[in-house]
Protein backbone atom coordinates (compact mmCIF):
# COMPACT_ATOMS: atom_id res chain seq x y z
CA UNK A 1 0.00 0.00 0.00
CA UNK A 2 1.19 3.49 -0.79
CA UNK A 3 2.30 5.52 2.21
CA UNK A 4 3.73 8.92 2.97
CA UNK A 5 6.63 8.82 5.41
CA UNK A 6 7.01 11.93 7.57
CA UNK A 7 10.64 13.07 7.48
CA UNK A 8 9.94 16.44 9.10
CA UNK A 9 6.58 17.37 10.65
CA UNK A 10 5.01 20.81 10.90
CA UNK A 11 3.92 22.01 14.35
CA UNK A 12 0.44 20.41 14.19
CA UNK A 13 -0.26 18.40 11.07
CA UNK A 14 -3.39 16.28 11.51
CA UNK A 15 -5.60 13.97 9.49
CA UNK A 16 -9.00 15.59 8.99
CA UNK A 17 -12.27 14.89 7.22
CA UNK A 18 -15.76 16.31 7.80
CA UNK A 19 -15.60 15.27 11.48
CA UNK A 20 -17.75 13.12 13.77
CA UNK A 21 -20.79 15.33 14.31
CA UNK A 22 -23.14 12.62 15.53
CA UNK A 23 -21.38 11.80 18.82
CA UNK A 24 -21.70 15.19 20.47
CA UNK A 25 -24.40 13.94 22.87
CA UNK A 26 -21.75 11.88 24.68
CA UNK A 27 -19.17 14.65 24.75
CA UNK A 28 -17.21 13.82 21.59
CA UNK A 29 -15.99 16.98 19.85
CA UNK A 30 -16.79 17.06 16.12
CA UNK A 31 -13.22 17.99 15.05
CA UNK A 32 -12.94 18.03 11.22
CA UNK A 33 -11.58 20.42 8.59
CA UNK A 34 -10.53 23.85 9.88
CA UNK A 35 -11.00 25.11 6.31
CA UNK A 36 -13.48 22.83 4.51
CA UNK A 37 -13.20 24.90 1.31
CA UNK A 38 -9.49 24.15 0.83
CA UNK A 39 -10.15 20.46 1.46
CA UNK A 40 -13.03 20.46 -1.05
CA UNK A 41 -10.85 22.14 -3.69
CA UNK A 42 -7.92 19.79 -3.17
CA UNK A 43 -10.08 16.68 -3.10
CA UNK A 44 -12.15 17.52 -6.17
CA UNK A 45 -9.06 18.39 -8.23
CA UNK A 46 -8.07 14.76 -7.71
CA UNK A 47 -11.53 13.29 -8.31
CA UNK A 48 -11.94 12.42 -4.61
CA UNK A 49 -15.20 12.92 -2.77
CA UNK A 50 -15.25 16.47 -1.37
CA UNK A 51 -14.91 15.25 2.24
CA UNK A 52 -12.18 12.62 1.76
CA UNK A 53 -9.61 12.62 4.56
CA UNK A 54 -6.65 14.97 4.01
CA UNK A 55 -3.61 16.16 5.92
CA UNK A 56 -4.27 19.60 7.36
CA UNK A 57 -1.24 21.73 8.18
CA UNK A 58 -1.12 24.38 10.87
CA UNK A 59 1.19 27.32 10.06
CA UNK A 60 3.87 25.14 8.45
CA UNK A 61 3.95 22.15 6.11
CA UNK A 62 5.93 18.91 6.33
CA UNK A 63 8.62 17.00 4.47
CA UNK A 64 6.97 13.79 3.21
CA UNK A 65 8.53 10.94 1.29
CA UNK A 66 6.51 8.64 -0.95
CA UNK A 67 6.79 4.93 -0.14
CA UNK A 68 5.31 2.82 -2.94
CA UNK A 69 3.35 5.04 -5.25
CA UNK A 70 2.94 6.60 -7.65
CA UNK A 71 0.53 8.94 -5.89
CA UNK A 72 -1.35 12.01 -7.05
CA UNK A 73 -1.58 14.90 -4.57
CA UNK A 74 -2.68 18.54 -4.48
CA UNK A 75 -1.23 21.16 -2.15
CA UNK A 76 -4.23 23.35 -1.33
CA UNK A 77 -2.30 25.96 0.65
CA UNK A 78 -0.52 29.23 0.15
CA UNK A 79 3.03 28.01 0.64
CA UNK A 80 6.24 27.26 -1.24
CA UNK A 81 6.22 23.67 -2.46
CA UNK A 82 9.19 21.59 -3.63
CA UNK A 83 9.40 18.12 -5.12
CA UNK A 84 12.89 16.65 -4.80
CA UNK A 85 14.14 20.19 -4.20
CA UNK A 86 12.54 21.65 -7.33
CA UNK A 87 9.76 24.28 -7.01
CA UNK A 88 6.32 22.84 -7.67
CA UNK A 89 2.90 24.51 -8.02
CA UNK A 90 0.07 24.60 -5.47
CA UNK A 91 -3.59 24.00 -6.39
CA UNK A 92 -2.45 21.64 -9.14
CA UNK A 93 -2.09 17.84 -9.44
CA UNK A 94 1.39 16.63 -8.58
CA UNK A 95 2.40 13.06 -9.50
CA UNK A 96 4.90 11.65 -7.05
CA UNK A 97 6.81 8.41 -7.45
CA UNK A 98 8.38 6.01 -4.99
CA UNK A 99 11.07 7.76 -2.97
CA UNK A 100 10.21 11.30 -4.08
CA UNK A 101 10.24 14.03 -1.47
CA UNK A 102 7.46 16.61 -1.11
CA UNK A 103 8.35 19.63 1.02
CA UNK A 104 5.87 22.31 2.00
CA UNK A 105 7.20 25.39 3.75
CA UNK A 106 5.60 27.99 6.04
CA UNK A 107 2.05 28.97 5.14
CA UNK A 108 2.15 32.49 3.75
CA UNK A 109 -1.55 33.12 4.14
CA UNK A 110 -4.02 31.83 6.69
CA UNK A 111 -3.38 29.37 9.49
CA UNK A 112 -4.28 26.09 7.83
CA UNK A 113 -3.42 24.42 4.55
CA UNK A 114 -4.34 21.07 3.05
CA UNK A 115 -2.58 18.19 1.36
CA UNK A 116 -5.22 16.27 -0.57
CA UNK A 117 -4.18 12.81 -1.75
CA UNK A 118 -5.89 10.78 -4.51
CA UNK A 119 -7.94 8.09 -2.77
CA UNK A 120 -7.72 9.91 0.55
CA UNK A 121 -5.84 9.21 3.76
CA UNK A 122 -6.54 5.69 5.00
CA UNK A 123 -6.16 5.81 8.78
CA UNK A 124 -8.72 3.92 10.90
CA UNK A 125 -12.23 5.29 11.13
CA UNK A 126 -13.06 6.18 14.73
CA UNK A 127 -16.78 6.71 15.35
CA UNK A 128 -17.31 7.24 11.64
CA UNK A 129 -14.53 9.75 11.02
CA UNK A 130 -10.76 9.90 10.52
CA UNK A 131 -10.44 13.39 12.03
CA UNK A 132 -7.88 13.72 14.80
CA UNK A 133 -9.09 15.64 17.86
CA UNK A 134 -5.84 16.95 19.27
CA UNK A 135 -6.92 17.53 22.85
CA UNK A 136 -8.44 14.09 23.50
CA UNK A 137 -6.56 12.00 20.95
CA UNK A 138 -9.81 10.63 19.53
CA UNK A 139 -8.99 9.77 15.91
CA UNK A 140 -5.24 10.28 16.33
CA UNK A 141 -2.53 12.76 17.16
CA UNK A 142 -0.50 15.35 15.23
CA UNK A 143 2.08 13.75 12.96
CA UNK A 144 5.66 13.34 14.10
CA UNK A 145 8.82 12.58 12.17
CA UNK A 146 8.98 8.84 11.51
CA UNK A 147 5.19 8.39 11.22
CA UNK A 148 3.77 6.90 8.06
CA UNK A 149 0.43 7.95 6.59
CA UNK A 150 -1.42 5.15 4.74
CA UNK A 151 -3.20 6.14 1.52
CA UNK A 152 -6.35 4.57 0.06
CA UNK A 153 -6.22 3.08 -3.42
CA UNK A 154 -6.30 5.71 -6.17
CA UNK A 155 -9.25 4.64 -8.32
CA UNK A 156 -8.50 7.15 -11.10
CA UNK A 157 -4.71 6.82 -11.51
CA UNK A 158 -4.86 7.95 -15.13
CA UNK A 159 -7.06 10.98 -14.53
CA UNK A 160 -5.83 14.13 -16.25
CA UNK A 161 -3.72 16.50 -14.17
CA UNK A 162 -5.88 19.42 -13.10
CA UNK A 163 -5.36 22.84 -11.61
CA UNK A 164 -7.26 25.82 -10.31
CA UNK A 165 -5.86 29.25 -11.18
CA UNK A 166 -4.47 30.49 -7.85
CA UNK A 167 -6.16 33.88 -8.21
CA UNK A 168 -9.53 32.13 -8.15
CA UNK A 169 -9.04 30.51 -4.75
CA UNK A 170 -11.13 32.44 -2.20
CA UNK A 171 -8.91 34.15 0.37
CA UNK A 172 -9.40 33.92 4.11
CA UNK A 173 -11.19 36.97 5.46
CA UNK A 174 -10.76 38.91 8.69
CA UNK A 175 -14.34 40.18 8.37
CA UNK A 176 -17.05 37.69 9.32
CA UNK A 177 -20.81 37.94 9.64
CA UNK A 178 -22.61 37.16 12.89
CA UNK A 179 -26.10 36.58 14.21
CA UNK A 180 -27.08 37.58 17.76
CA UNK A 181 -26.41 34.63 20.07
CA UNK A 182 -28.94 32.79 22.22
CA UNK A 183 -27.87 34.77 25.34
CA UNK A 184 -27.36 38.20 23.73
CA UNK A 185 -30.11 39.65 25.92
CA UNK A 186 -28.13 38.75 29.06
CA UNK A 187 -25.39 41.26 28.18
CA UNK A 188 -25.19 44.98 28.88
CA UNK A 189 -26.90 46.97 26.14
CA UNK A 190 -23.60 48.21 24.73
CA UNK A 191 -22.03 44.74 24.38
CA UNK A 192 -23.27 43.82 20.88
CA UNK A 193 -22.66 47.37 19.48
CA UNK A 194 -19.18 47.23 21.03
CA UNK A 195 -18.49 43.83 19.44
CA UNK A 196 -19.42 45.31 16.06
CA UNK A 197 -17.70 48.67 16.46
CA UNK A 198 -14.21 47.54 17.39
CA UNK A 199 -11.55 45.51 15.65
CA UNK A 200 -10.55 42.45 17.74
CA UNK A 201 -7.04 41.12 18.12
CA UNK A 202 -6.60 37.38 17.77
CA UNK A 203 -4.62 36.60 20.91
CA UNK A 204 -4.34 32.82 20.71
CA UNK A 205 -5.89 30.66 18.02
CA UNK A 206 -5.93 26.88 17.80
CA UNK A 207 -8.31 24.26 16.45
CA UNK A 208 -10.57 24.68 19.51
CA UNK A 209 -11.10 28.35 18.90
CA UNK A 210 -9.69 31.85 18.63
CA UNK A 211 -9.31 33.95 21.77
CA UNK A 212 -9.98 37.57 20.95
CA UNK A 213 -8.86 40.73 22.71
CA UNK A 214 -10.69 44.04 22.81
CA UNK A 215 -12.90 46.18 25.05
CA UNK A 216 -14.47 43.88 27.68
CA UNK A 217 -18.02 42.71 26.93
CA UNK A 218 -20.06 42.77 30.12
CA UNK A 219 -22.80 40.41 31.20
CA UNK A 220 -25.70 41.85 33.18
CA UNK A 221 -25.17 41.47 36.94
CA UNK A 222 -26.44 38.32 38.69
CA UNK A 223 -26.94 36.30 35.53
CA UNK A 224 -27.10 32.59 36.29
CA UNK A 225 -25.93 30.33 33.46
CA UNK A 226 -25.97 26.58 33.02
CA UNK A 227 -23.94 24.63 30.49
CA UNK A 228 -25.58 23.90 27.16
CA UNK A 229 -24.66 22.65 23.71
CA UNK A 230 -22.51 25.00 21.64
CA UNK A 231 -21.96 25.31 17.90
CA UNK A 232 -18.88 26.01 15.83
CA UNK A 233 -18.74 29.77 15.29
CA UNK A 234 -20.27 30.63 18.68
CA UNK A 235 -18.72 33.69 20.37
CA UNK A 236 -18.54 32.65 24.01
CA UNK A 237 -17.79 35.35 26.54
CA UNK A 238 -16.09 34.21 29.78
CA UNK A 239 -16.03 36.51 32.87
CA UNK A 240 -12.94 38.30 31.49
CA UNK A 241 -15.23 39.83 28.83
CA UNK A 242 -12.85 38.68 26.08
CA UNK A 243 -14.73 36.50 23.57
CA UNK A 244 -13.66 33.14 22.16
CA UNK A 245 -14.78 32.18 18.63
CA UNK A 246 -15.25 28.40 18.65
CA UNK A 247 -13.57 26.20 16.04
CA UNK A 248 -14.10 22.57 14.99
CA UNK A 249 -12.23 21.09 17.99
CA UNK A 250 -14.57 22.94 20.39
CA UNK A 251 -16.14 21.12 23.28
CA UNK A 252 -19.70 19.95 22.83
CA UNK A 253 -21.07 22.01 25.73
CA UNK A 254 -20.07 25.31 27.26
CA UNK A 255 -21.07 27.27 30.33
CA UNK A 256 -20.32 30.76 29.03
CA UNK A 257 -22.89 33.11 27.53
CA UNK A 258 -22.92 33.32 23.75
CA UNK A 259 -23.24 36.93 22.64
CA UNK A 260 -23.17 36.11 18.92
CA UNK A 261 -22.62 33.28 16.46
CA UNK A 262 -20.58 33.45 13.24
CA UNK A 263 -22.71 32.27 10.30
CA UNK A 264 -21.85 28.88 8.81
CA UNK A 265 -20.77 30.36 5.46
CA UNK A 266 -17.95 32.18 7.31
CA UNK A 267 -16.75 29.40 9.67
CA UNK A 268 -13.72 28.65 7.50
CA UNK A 269 -12.32 32.09 8.21
CA UNK A 270 -12.10 31.40 11.97
CA UNK A 271 -9.83 28.45 11.16
CA UNK A 272 -7.59 30.76 9.13
CA UNK A 273 -7.11 33.56 11.68
CA UNK A 274 -3.60 34.00 12.96
CA UNK A 275 -2.37 35.23 16.32
CA UNK A 276 -1.96 39.01 16.20
CA UNK A 277 -4.40 39.47 13.31
CA UNK A 278 -7.17 42.06 13.59
CA UNK A 279 -10.64 40.74 12.85
CA UNK A 280 -14.03 42.38 12.62
CA UNK A 281 -17.68 41.39 12.93
CA UNK A 282 -20.66 42.44 10.84
CA UNK A 283 -24.25 41.88 11.96
CA UNK A 284 -26.57 40.01 9.63
CA UNK A 285 -29.95 38.28 9.95
CA UNK A 286 -31.09 34.71 9.54
CA UNK A 287 -32.53 35.22 6.05
CA UNK A 288 -29.29 36.77 4.79
CA UNK A 289 -27.25 34.09 6.58
CA UNK A 290 -29.23 31.41 4.75
CA UNK A 291 -28.69 33.25 1.47
CA UNK A 292 -24.96 33.54 2.27
CA UNK A 293 -24.88 29.76 2.77
CA UNK A 294 -26.51 29.21 -0.64
CA UNK A 295 -24.14 31.72 -2.25
CA UNK A 296 -21.11 30.02 -0.68
CA UNK A 297 -22.24 26.63 -2.00
CA UNK A 298 -22.81 28.14 -5.45
CA UNK A 299 -19.39 29.80 -5.35
CA UNK A 300 -17.83 26.44 -4.54
CA UNK A 301 -19.71 24.80 -7.42
CA UNK A 302 -18.37 27.56 -9.71
CA UNK A 303 -14.84 26.93 -8.43
CA UNK A 304 -15.17 23.24 -9.14
CA UNK A 305 -16.35 24.13 -12.65
CA UNK A 306 -13.36 26.47 -13.03
CA UNK A 307 -10.90 23.62 -12.53
CA UNK A 308 -9.03 22.92 -15.75
CA UNK A 309 -7.24 19.94 -17.14
CA UNK A 310 -3.59 20.88 -17.37
CA UNK A 311 -3.45 20.21 -21.15
CA UNK A 312 -6.09 22.93 -21.64
CA UNK A 313 -3.34 25.49 -21.20
CA UNK A 314 -0.56 23.51 -22.81
CA UNK A 315 -1.67 23.33 -26.47
CA UNK A 316 1.85 22.60 -27.58
CA UNK A 317 2.22 19.57 -25.36
CA UNK A 318 -1.20 18.18 -26.08
CA UNK A 319 -0.68 18.72 -29.80
CA UNK A 320 2.55 16.78 -29.52
CA UNK A 321 0.74 14.05 -27.64
CA UNK A 322 -1.93 13.84 -30.36
CA UNK A 323 0.79 13.67 -32.96
CA UNK A 324 2.41 10.78 -31.11
CA UNK A 325 -0.90 8.96 -30.86
CA UNK A 326 -1.81 9.35 -34.51
Amino acid sequence: MTQLRVLRAGPATTVQDAGRLAWQHVGVSPAGFADPLLAALGNTLLGNPRDAAVLEWTLHGDALQVVGGPVRVVVAAWADVRVDGQPAPNFRTLRLHDGQLLEVEALQRGRHGVLAIAGGVHTDLVLGSRSAHVRTGVGGHPLRAGDTVPICLDVHPRAADRFLPADQVPQPSSLVRILPGPQHHLFEADALPSLLAHPWHVRAADRMGARLEGPPLQLLPDVELVSEGVVTGALQVPPSGQPIALGPDRQTMGGYAKLAVVISADWRHIGQWRDGEQVQFQLTNLVDAEQARINADRALADLLAAQRDVHDILPFESARLLHLLS
Partner: protein, 223 residues
Protein backbone atom coordinates in the same frame (compact mmCIF):
# COMPACT_ATOMS: atom_id res chain seq x y z
CA UNK B 1 -40.82 25.24 25.53
CA UNK B 2 -38.95 27.98 23.68
CA UNK B 3 -36.99 27.40 20.45
CA UNK B 4 -34.36 29.98 19.46
CA UNK B 5 -31.60 29.85 16.83
CA UNK B 6 -27.93 29.41 17.72
CA UNK B 7 -26.48 30.67 14.45
CA UNK B 8 -27.83 29.28 11.17
CA UNK B 9 -27.00 25.62 11.84
CA UNK B 10 -28.56 24.88 15.24
CA UNK B 11 -31.52 25.70 17.45
CA UNK B 12 -31.71 25.73 21.24
CA UNK B 13 -34.84 24.27 22.83
CA UNK B 14 -35.28 25.52 26.38
CA UNK B 15 -37.24 22.83 28.25
CA UNK B 16 -37.04 24.16 31.83
CA UNK B 17 -36.07 27.31 33.70
CA UNK B 18 -33.78 25.70 36.27
CA UNK B 19 -31.60 22.59 36.29
CA UNK B 20 -32.70 19.56 38.28
CA UNK B 21 -34.20 16.12 37.98
CA UNK B 22 -37.46 17.38 36.44
CA UNK B 23 -35.60 19.59 33.97
CA UNK B 24 -33.38 16.69 32.88
CA UNK B 25 -36.40 14.44 32.39
CA UNK B 26 -38.01 17.06 30.14
CA UNK B 27 -34.80 17.62 28.15
CA UNK B 28 -34.38 13.90 27.50
CA UNK B 29 -38.07 13.42 26.68
CA UNK B 30 -37.68 16.17 24.09
CA UNK B 31 -34.49 14.58 22.75
CA UNK B 32 -36.36 11.29 22.33
CA UNK B 33 -39.14 13.09 20.44
CA UNK B 34 -36.74 14.88 18.08
CA UNK B 35 -34.83 11.67 17.45
CA UNK B 36 -38.04 9.75 16.70
CA UNK B 37 -39.26 12.50 14.36
CA UNK B 38 -36.20 12.03 12.10
CA UNK B 39 -36.37 15.66 10.98
CA UNK B 40 -34.45 16.30 7.77
CA UNK B 41 -30.92 17.63 8.11
CA UNK B 42 -30.56 16.99 11.85
CA UNK B 43 -26.97 15.85 12.52
CA UNK B 44 -26.66 15.91 16.32
CA UNK B 45 -28.72 16.36 19.49
CA UNK B 46 -26.94 17.73 22.56
CA UNK B 47 -28.92 17.59 25.81
CA UNK B 48 -27.81 20.06 28.49
CA UNK B 49 -29.16 20.76 31.99
CA UNK B 50 -32.18 22.76 30.82
CA UNK B 51 -31.80 22.85 27.03
CA UNK B 52 -31.58 20.59 24.03
CA UNK B 53 -29.42 21.84 21.16
CA UNK B 54 -30.34 20.48 17.74
CA UNK B 55 -27.51 20.75 15.19
CA UNK B 56 -28.53 20.59 11.54
CA UNK B 57 -26.89 20.79 8.15
CA UNK B 58 -27.78 24.26 6.81
CA UNK B 59 -27.53 22.94 3.24
CA UNK B 60 -30.44 20.60 3.97
CA UNK B 61 -32.73 22.43 6.40
CA UNK B 62 -33.54 25.97 7.47
CA UNK B 63 -34.12 27.32 10.92
CA UNK B 64 -37.75 28.48 10.69
CA UNK B 65 -39.37 25.29 9.34
CA UNK B 66 -37.22 23.14 11.61
CA UNK B 67 -38.14 25.22 14.67
CA UNK B 68 -41.84 24.96 13.73
CA UNK B 69 -41.58 21.19 13.34
CA UNK B 70 -39.86 20.91 16.72
CA UNK B 71 -42.42 23.11 18.46
CA UNK B 72 -45.16 20.75 17.26
CA UNK B 73 -43.51 17.63 18.76
CA UNK B 74 -44.86 15.84 21.81
CA UNK B 75 -42.10 14.91 24.30
CA UNK B 76 -41.57 11.15 24.78
CA UNK B 77 -41.05 10.35 28.47
CA UNK B 78 -38.28 7.87 29.24
CA UNK B 79 -39.21 4.39 30.47
CA UNK B 80 -39.27 4.28 34.26
CA UNK B 81 -36.51 1.66 34.51
CA UNK B 82 -33.17 3.25 35.28
CA UNK B 83 -29.65 1.92 35.36
CA UNK B 84 -27.84 2.14 38.67
CA UNK B 85 -24.06 1.90 38.39
CA UNK B 86 -21.72 0.91 41.23
CA UNK B 87 -18.28 2.20 40.34
CA UNK B 88 -15.29 1.00 42.39
CA UNK B 89 -13.02 3.90 43.37
CA UNK B 90 -9.98 4.30 45.62
CA UNK B 91 -10.36 7.46 47.70
CA UNK B 92 -6.64 8.26 47.60
CA UNK B 93 -6.62 11.56 45.70
CA UNK B 94 -4.11 14.29 46.41
CA UNK B 95 -6.82 16.88 47.18
CA UNK B 96 -8.85 14.75 49.59
CA UNK B 97 -7.32 16.49 52.62
CA UNK B 98 -7.99 19.93 51.12
CA UNK B 99 -11.64 19.11 50.41
CA UNK B 100 -11.95 17.74 53.98
CA UNK B 101 -10.39 20.90 55.40
CA UNK B 102 -12.77 23.09 53.40
CA UNK B 103 -15.74 21.06 54.65
CA UNK B 104 -14.38 21.01 58.22
CA UNK B 105 -14.72 17.22 58.29
CA UNK B 106 -12.31 14.32 58.78
CA UNK B 107 -11.36 12.65 55.50
CA UNK B 108 -13.20 9.44 56.51
CA UNK B 109 -16.39 11.48 56.75
CA UNK B 110 -15.80 12.99 53.29
CA UNK B 111 -15.42 9.48 51.85
CA UNK B 112 -18.51 8.28 53.72
CA UNK B 113 -20.64 11.18 52.45
CA UNK B 114 -19.33 11.03 48.88
CA UNK B 115 -19.84 7.27 48.57
CA UNK B 116 -23.26 7.23 50.28
CA UNK B 117 -24.76 9.73 47.86
CA UNK B 118 -26.71 8.56 44.80
CA UNK B 119 -25.83 10.73 41.81
CA UNK B 120 -27.75 11.23 38.59
CA UNK B 121 -26.21 11.77 35.15
CA UNK B 122 -27.64 15.09 33.95
CA UNK B 123 -25.76 15.26 30.65
CA UNK B 124 -22.43 14.53 28.99
CA UNK B 125 -19.92 17.05 27.75
CA UNK B 126 -16.46 18.56 28.23
CA UNK B 127 -14.77 15.36 27.00
CA UNK B 128 -15.91 12.05 25.49
CA UNK B 129 -17.81 10.14 28.17
CA UNK B 130 -17.55 12.92 30.76
CA UNK B 131 -20.79 12.69 32.78
CA UNK B 132 -22.01 15.73 34.69
CA UNK B 133 -23.38 14.24 37.93
CA UNK B 134 -25.88 15.99 40.16
CA UNK B 135 -26.48 15.05 43.78
CA UNK B 136 -23.23 16.04 45.49
CA UNK B 137 -23.97 16.52 49.24
CA UNK B 138 -23.95 20.22 50.13
CA UNK B 139 -21.23 19.75 52.79
CA UNK B 140 -18.79 18.57 50.12
CA UNK B 141 -19.28 21.43 47.67
CA UNK B 142 -15.87 23.06 47.23
CA UNK B 143 -14.88 25.93 44.90
CA UNK B 144 -12.59 24.91 42.04
CA UNK B 145 -8.83 25.26 42.39
CA UNK B 146 -7.50 28.77 41.76
CA UNK B 147 -5.05 27.41 39.20
CA UNK B 148 -6.14 24.46 37.02
CA UNK B 149 -3.74 21.54 36.58
CA UNK B 150 -2.51 21.21 32.99
CA UNK B 151 -3.19 17.46 33.04
CA UNK B 152 -4.92 15.04 35.37
CA UNK B 153 -4.91 11.31 34.80
CA UNK B 154 -7.68 9.31 33.12
CA UNK B 155 -9.90 7.69 35.76
CA UNK B 156 -9.47 10.52 38.30
CA UNK B 157 -12.48 10.98 40.59
CA UNK B 158 -12.89 14.73 40.81
CA UNK B 159 -15.03 17.37 42.48
CA UNK B 160 -15.59 21.01 41.53
CA UNK B 161 -18.23 23.42 42.82
CA UNK B 162 -21.54 21.52 43.10
CA UNK B 163 -20.46 18.70 40.83
CA UNK B 164 -18.48 15.49 40.89
CA UNK B 165 -17.28 13.37 37.98
CA UNK B 166 -14.77 10.85 36.66
CA UNK B 167 -12.27 12.11 34.14
CA UNK B 168 -12.52 9.77 31.13
CA UNK B 169 -9.13 10.71 29.67
CA UNK B 170 -6.08 12.75 30.65
CA UNK B 171 -7.15 16.41 30.43
CA UNK B 172 -6.53 19.77 32.04
CA UNK B 173 -8.83 20.43 35.01
CA UNK B 174 -9.38 22.87 37.85
CA UNK B 175 -11.39 20.35 39.89
CA UNK B 176 -10.12 18.63 43.05
CA UNK B 177 -8.90 15.04 42.85
CA UNK B 178 -10.56 12.75 45.41
CA UNK B 179 -9.42 9.40 44.10
CA UNK B 180 -9.26 7.17 41.06
CA UNK B 181 -10.85 4.21 39.29
CA UNK B 182 -9.87 1.77 36.55
CA UNK B 183 -13.35 1.78 35.03
CA UNK B 184 -13.23 3.15 31.49
CA UNK B 185 -15.93 5.72 30.89
CA UNK B 186 -15.31 5.90 27.16
CA UNK B 187 -13.92 3.25 24.84
CA UNK B 188 -14.56 3.38 21.11
CA UNK B 189 -14.01 -0.38 20.78
CA UNK B 190 -17.11 -1.15 22.90
CA UNK B 191 -20.53 -1.66 21.34
CA UNK B 192 -21.70 1.35 23.37
CA UNK B 193 -18.58 3.53 23.71
CA UNK B 194 -20.02 5.68 26.49
CA UNK B 195 -20.57 3.94 29.87
CA UNK B 196 -22.81 6.48 31.62
CA UNK B 197 -25.87 7.88 29.91
CA UNK B 198 -28.29 10.64 30.90
CA UNK B 199 -30.71 9.54 33.61
CA UNK B 200 -28.38 6.81 34.94
CA UNK B 201 -27.87 6.68 38.71
CA UNK B 202 -24.29 6.40 39.94
CA UNK B 203 -22.81 5.34 43.28
CA UNK B 204 -19.13 5.08 44.17
CA UNK B 205 -17.89 2.02 46.05
CA UNK B 206 -14.81 2.65 48.24
CA UNK B 207 -12.20 0.08 47.23
CA UNK B 208 -8.52 -0.40 48.08
CA UNK B 209 -6.32 0.75 45.20
CA UNK B 210 -4.68 -2.69 44.80
CA UNK B 211 -8.07 -4.31 44.12
CA UNK B 212 -9.27 -1.83 41.49
CA UNK B 213 -7.78 -3.67 38.53
CA UNK B 214 -10.02 -6.70 39.25
CA UNK B 215 -13.26 -4.77 39.72
CA UNK B 216 -15.75 -3.81 37.04
CA UNK B 217 -18.58 -1.33 37.26
CA UNK B 218 -21.66 -3.32 38.27
CA UNK B 219 -25.05 -2.24 37.06
CA UNK B 220 -28.65 -2.91 38.16
CA UNK B 221 -31.70 -1.97 36.16
CA UNK B 222 -34.89 -1.14 37.99
CA UNK B 223 -37.51 1.45 38.73
Amino acid sequence: MIVVPQGDAAVVITCAAHPGEAASARVHAMAAAVRAAALPGVVALVPGYTTLVVHFDPRVSRTAPLADAIAALVPVPAPSARRRWHIPVAYDGEDLAEVAAHAGLPTEQVVALHSAAVYTVACLGFAPGFAYLTGLPAQLQTPRRSSPRPRIAAGSLILGGQQTAIMPMAMPSGWHILGHTHVQLFDVTRMAPCLLLPGDRVQFVPTVAEALADRVARCEVGP
